[in-house]
Each structure stands twice: as structure tokens, then as C-alpha cells.
């Protein structure tokens, strides 16, 4: 099935400069599988979000889901 990944500007070095792209994953795949297929190393990941909510790597995906890979929240 097809899902979309949207990555923050700091991570596009792992995605050939693309900030929004499709990834083909198996049915019932997790966020982790999609990110692995996209070639983004786990240690580079920050916050993951879908539909205005934080998600984790084991979140199950559905066709056309859009996962945002964002920098970690930072501050004092």
C-alpha cells in the first residue's frame, strides 16, 4: 500500500532533498517500516506525528496515511 512521508528540512539530506514523497509498504505496516524504507536512520528521528497527534514507531498505517517526521521540541 502507499503512504506519504513528510520530513522536516533538517532530514532531507537522507531523502535526496525531497520533503514530501510516497513510500510503498506492506499492508498493516508500521511507521517504523515506512521510515526504514525511506532510508532515514532511526537516530536522526525527532518527533513523529499524524493527524495533529504524536505517534510512535509501532503505529500501524493505512493506505494514504501521511506521517510527519519533525525535529524534537527543544528549549530550556
Amino acid at each position: 500500500m502507499r503512504v506519504f512521508l513528510e520530513v522536516a528540512s533538517g532530514l532531507t539530506r537522507y531523502t535526496q532533498g525531497q520533503s514530501l514523497f510516497e513510500v510503498e509498504v506492506s499492508p498493516n505496516a508500521t511507521v517504523e517500516e515506512a521510515i526504514h524504507k525511506a532510508g532515514i536512520p532511526e537516530e536522526a528521528l525527532g518527533l513523529l506525528a499524524m493527524n495533529r497527534q504524536k505517534v510512535d514507531l509501532d503505529q500501524t498505517l493505512q493506505e494514504d496515511d501521511r506521517v510527519m517526521i519533525l525535529p524534537l521540541i527543544m528549549g530550556g
Binding site: Q53, L72, I73, G75, G76
Partner: protein, 593 residues
């Protein structure tokens, strides 16, 4: 004072225009910074008096390694907060820490009230009380310019001052330090105003040789390398904390329109990246910091008809974009910078000002107050009305704005709307609606700030809520930050300054501390703060949280009010255990040199 066995305290009496200096060996048990300031506050505070009574003290302190190592750049201020009525504690960078160090003082205690407006000029061998009647009414930038032109020592001088809001005792007036830094939260500016104290000018011009330079330089180089080469510190320099707008907006943790929403439909337009592309003109650093995280944004202001413009530069960061931007529904960086500039000139705390205006806007929408009272038609997205309202908060032209100048909690006592007056124990909320950590952290924090224990950060690292783990982590971080703030580091570098680094840093400049010593010092400082809070009548279990926190989903989903109160009670149990141990222990021994 490094290499000395005492803390040098300058006591300033504004009533008598006199000073005295004490060399306090006993205060070394508190290391420096927030430890020393807490103890001095405990000694001089008057729980029976109003926070703005002239009898209340203002304490400033630098730390055990101030400006001797990279990013150890802050000065702490402690006082009785006029906003919350309890512990007042805030931090500022700029040049103040270096000038205090090189003027020879570890701490200042300012007491009494000047008969007329004054400012104090502090030099290595001289303290002068100067007439500031002509400065009264001046904005932050005007008074800074005035003192710069009249005091010597440019480059080795720090100018610390208040604007009109402090003079008029707005209970969240701030104190501006060297133009771009602030003692922002909890109303120190009003305490200055209550003492007729417009400003401090501090000149530090002595030399302070390092004894074991080889050992010191090795530690310095290691820290410098980690500060300048790690990715997290690079982020603070590149886009800075406004980088937070994008992840918080995407994940539903960005307080918007008085937290009626957890995301902003114009979030992309006011993101850190948007500010960087359209308005960022400069980055500057506090003295002693190689990072340079202070982002300066530029806008053009028309000051007269006929195409007459001036270029205005103001600093911005995440909290300001949240409080004066998303929280008020402001859609463009240009407008946010314009509101920041008015807040800056009036001398208000930006977070409180924005959150108070968020409450006022909703109060008007719901008919709790009228436009006759608000004078301007406050509405989310209306930057012009907010700019005027900020001036009214400072100048208080009617009862409504007088109430707003006391804070959102006070205003909602007067007019209703407590459920959407977004405060933690009377202190206006910071820009995180991320989960239980973002609520419990500031609710239990000693000064009710997100910086007390960084509770919000736990919401992104904790996969599933583990109540005990969350409470334990907040408690541990609250105590650890007492150690960090006794140095006084900038908390942006807290991951660089782990325990081995702190010990290496301190022990190479004459201390002889162990890991256990630091733990004991951290607990000693926290207990001191808790004793002060208790003496001021604070009861953690009486703190009420606005219902809005539980109506608007957070980054980690909907939050249950009962669970939040349960977590707060669990935290209080840990505090009770700590304080019970306090009562059974003898007076602390002096640690280190």
C-alpha cells in the same frame, strides 16, 4: 567567588542610600547562583508583607563558574513575586554575569525604597545612587540609551532597567538586561518599580587570573568542542527555538487562540523557518557563549505620513511567537514582531502579556466584559488592537486594564472566566500543550515555569503514560536544575553539563567536590525554596487547573483532570518525604573550597 572560601555579598539599602559588604563563608554550602540567592532570600524576605512592600528584598547572584566556562552566562534574580505572591525566581543572560564577576561581587541584596526615582551605578570600588527622576516614564530602550551615554565602561558594562509597566507596578513587568535579554517572568520589574529603582549599571573591569591554567584549559576545550560541534546546539543557532512551531503545530501541542485550539491554521506562516526567511537579520550571543542563539528580527514602522519609516529590530524566540502570535491568532511574522516591540518598550513579560490578552479576548467574546471596558475591539488575529491593549496594560487607563495588569488569574477573579484563564498557580502558561508533563511540570515547579523541570520534554520521550515514572522524572529534574542553576548555566546547554562535566569544571577552578556533594547541594537548595514557599502560604494541593487544559486535546491526546491532580498529589508526597528528611538533618556542612 572562585578561589575564595566565601561568597561576597553587596547589600544595598535604598532608604539610607548606604551599602555594606559581607564575606559569607556559610553560603559556600549553597555553591552559588540559585543556591546562594535562595538562602539570601530566605534570610531577608518578609512573609507578612505585600510583595511590593518596600521591606521586600531583591536578590541577584552569579554562580560558581559564571562566564569562566562556555554558556555559563546567566544571573539569577529572586524575590517575592507580585504575580503569584510566592517564590519569585528568574534568569537573564547578556553581560550581567560577567560584569558582576569582574566587579567582585557574587550577589547583590537590594532592600528599602528610594525617596525619589534612582538608578544605582556599581563599580569595583564604588557604588553610587544616582537621580533618575528624568528617566521615569522612559521606555526600556530610551533608558538604556540614556545610561549608555552617561556611564563609562562601554563593553564591560551591563545596564539592567525597567520600562513604564514596572513603574506602574504591573505585576508581570519584566526587567530588561542589555537590550535583548530579560528577567522576564513573575514581575521583578514591578518590584523594581515599588522601590523607585529604574536601573542598575554594573561595570566589571578587574582581571581574574586562572591558577591552574593547563588543567582549566583542558576542561574548557572539551566543553567548547561539545558546545560548538553538537547538533542540538547548532539548532539553537540556526533557526533557534522558533523551530518548535512546526513540530508542535503538526502534533497538536501548540496553544492557539487562548488554547481553544491545539494547532494554528497559519502555523506554517509563523514558523521559525518563515521568520528566518523574511525577518531574521542578526544573531547575537550573551557574553561567554559561543552559540549565539538570540535571533533578531526586523520590521519597518511608519512613524509619520509621507512615507516616513524607521527600521526596528527586536529579538524573538519560540515563547514570544507562541504568546504574542499563535495564542492571539496573529498570522504574520511582521505583526508578531510589532507586538513584541510594544511589549518590549513597555517592559512587560511577553508570555504573561500574551496569555492575559488571550483571556481578555475570550472574555469579550463571551460577554463577560464589554468593549467599553476593553476600549479596543480585542479579537483573535487583530494585531493593532493588541498593540494598543499592551500599552493600556502598562498604563492602566481603567479598572479593566488595572485588573489585566494583575494577571489572568486576578482578572478572572473579577470578571469570571476562570476555566479559560490559562495559568499555573497564577503564573501564565508557557507554550506547550504536550501532555501531562506540560501540565504537572509547571504546576509543581518551584516557580511554576516550564523551566523548573522541563516536564513538557517528557511528553515527547515517554511512549505510554507511566505515572510514577513521570513524577519521579520531574522530581529528579527539579532537583538537578537546582545544581545547574547554582553554576548558573544557560539551560540550553544542560545536556553538555552532565555531572562529570560539572565536576571537572568546578574542580579545575579550585573546588573539591564529589558527585554526592552535588546531589546534597541540589537537595539543600530545593529544600530552601520549599521552605520559602511554605512560609509564604503556598499549598500545592490547593492549586486549581483551568478546565481548558482538559477540554482541548494535547499532543498526546485528551487529558484527564483527575489524573493530573493525582500526579500532583504523588509529587507532593515526594516533597513531603524530602522535607521530613530535612527536619531530621543537622545544619549542612560546607562543601568544596
Amino acid at each position: 567567588m572562585i578561589y575564595e572560601d566565601y561568597i561576597k555579598v553587596l547589600y544595598i539599602d535604598l532608604n539610607k542610600k548606604q551599602i555594606r559588604i559581607e564575606h559569607r563563608k556559610d553560603l559556600k554550602a549553597y555553591l552559588g547562583g540559585v543556591g546562594v540567592a535562595s538562602k539570601l532570600l530566605e534570610e531577608t524576605i518578609h512573609p507578612e508583607l505585600d510583595p511590593l512592600d518596600e521591606g521586600q528584598p531583591i536578590i541577584f547572584a552569579i554562580g560558581a563558574a559564571s562566564t569562566v566556562y562556555p554558556v555559563v552566562t546567566k544571573t539569577v534574580a529572586m524575590f517575592r513575586s507580585p504575580l503569584t505572591g510566592e517564590l519569585g525566581e528568574c534568569y537573564a543572560g547578556g553581560r550581567m554575569a560577567l560584569t558582576l564577576l569582574l566587579s567582585g561581587y557574587d550577589a547583590l541584596v537590594i532592600q528599602g525604597k528610594s525617596e525619589d526615582p534612582c538608578y544605582i551605578s556599581i563599580k569595583r570600588n564604588n557604588v553610587e545612587f544616582k537621580d533618575a527622576r528624568a528617566l521615569w516614564g522612559m521606555s526600556n530602550s530610551e533608558v538604556g540609551r540614556f545610561i549608555r551615554e552617561r556611564e563609562s565602561g562601554g563593553g564591560k558594562r551591563s545596564i539592567v532597567r525597567i520600562g513604564p509597566a514596572g513603574e506602574r507596578l504591573s505585576r508581570y513587568a519584566c526587567v530588561c538586561v542589555d537590550t535583548y535579554r530579560h528577567f522576564g517572568r513573575l514581575g521583578l520589574g514591578a518590584v523594581f518599580g515599588s522601590k523607585n529603582l529604574k536601573a542598575l549599571s554594573i561595570i566589571g573591569d578587574r582581571n581574574l587570573p586562572i591558577k591552574d591554567f593547563k588543567g582549566y584549559f583542558k576542561v574548557y576545550q572539551d566543553i567548547y568542542k561539545r558546545v560548538t560541534e553538537t547538533e542540538i546546539m547548532a539548532k539553537y543557532h540556526d533557526i533557534g527555538t522558533p523551530l518548535n512551531i512546526a513540530p508542535l503545530n503538526a502534533s497538536g501541542g501548540l496553544p492557539t487562540k487562548n488554547l481553544r485550539q491545539n494547532a494554528f491554521e497559519y502555523g506554517d506562516d509563523v514558523s521559525g523557518e518563515a521568520f528566518a526567511k523574511t525577518n531574521l537579520v542578526r544573531k547575537v550571543a550573551c557574553t561567554g557563549c559561543p552559540v549565539g542563539c538570540i535571533h533578531i528580527g526586523h520590521f519597518r514602522r511608519e512613524f509619520d505620513e509621507g512615507y516616513e519609516y524607521e527600521a526596528i529590530n527586536v529579538c524573538y524566540d519560540y515563547e514570544l511567537i507562541f504568546s504574542l502570535g499563535t495564542f492571539l491568532g496573529i498570522k504574520t511574522p511582521e505583526e508578531i514582531l510589532q507586538i513584541i516591540d510594544v511589549v518590549e518598550q513597555m517592559g512587560l513579560d511577553a508570555i504573561s502579556a500574551g496569555v492575559v490578552l488571550g483571556w481578555a479576548t475570550e472574555a469579550l467574546m463571551r460577554g463577560l466584559v464589554t468593549q467599553e471596558q476593553t476600549i479596543v475591539p480585542l479579537a483573535f488575529g487583530d494585531a493593532k488592537s493588541y498593540m494598543t491593549a499592551v500599552e493600556y496594560i502598562a498604563c492602566q487607563p481603567n479598572d479593566f486594564y488595572h485588573a489585566l495588569a494583575q494577571g489572568a488569574d486576578f482578572a478572572s477573579d473579577q470578571y469570571g472566566g476562570k476555566d479559560f484563564a490559562m495559568t499555573f498557580a497564577k503564573n501564565e502558561m508557557p507554550g506547550y500543550h504536550t501532555g501531562y508533563g506540560s501540565i504537572v511540570g509547571p504546576a509543581v515547579g518551584a516557580r511554576h515555569s516550564h523551566l523548573c523541570n522541563g516536564g513538557y520534554a517528557l511528553d515527547q520521550s515517554m511512549k505510554v503514560l507511566d505515572k510514577q515514572k513521570l513524577v519521579d522524572a520531574i522530581f529528579a529534574e527539579e532537583k538537578e536544575r537546582c545544581v545547574l542553576n547554582s553554576l548558573v548555566i544557560c539551560l540550553f546547554a544542560r545536556k553538555v553539563y552532565d555531572r562529570p562535566t560539572i565536576l571537572a569544571a568546578l574542580n579545575s577552578i579550585g573546588h573539591n567536590l564529589t558527585d554526592e556533594d552535588l546531589t546534597a547541594i541540589g537537595e539543600r537548595i530545593y529544600r530552601t525554596k520549599l521552605r520559602i514557599k511554605k512560609s509564604l502560604g503556598f499549598n500545592q494541593l490547593e492549586v486549581k487547573l483551568p478546565k481548558r487544559f482538559f477540554e482541548t486535546p494535547s499532543m498526546t491526546g485528551e487529558l484527564d483532570e483527575k489524573i493530573a491532580y493525582e500526579l500532583i498529589a504523588m509529587y507532593q508526597q515526594k516533597v513531603d518525604e524530602l522535607m521530613a528528611a530535612d527536619e531530621s538533618q543537622p545544619t549542612p556542612a560546607v562543601s568544596g573550597s
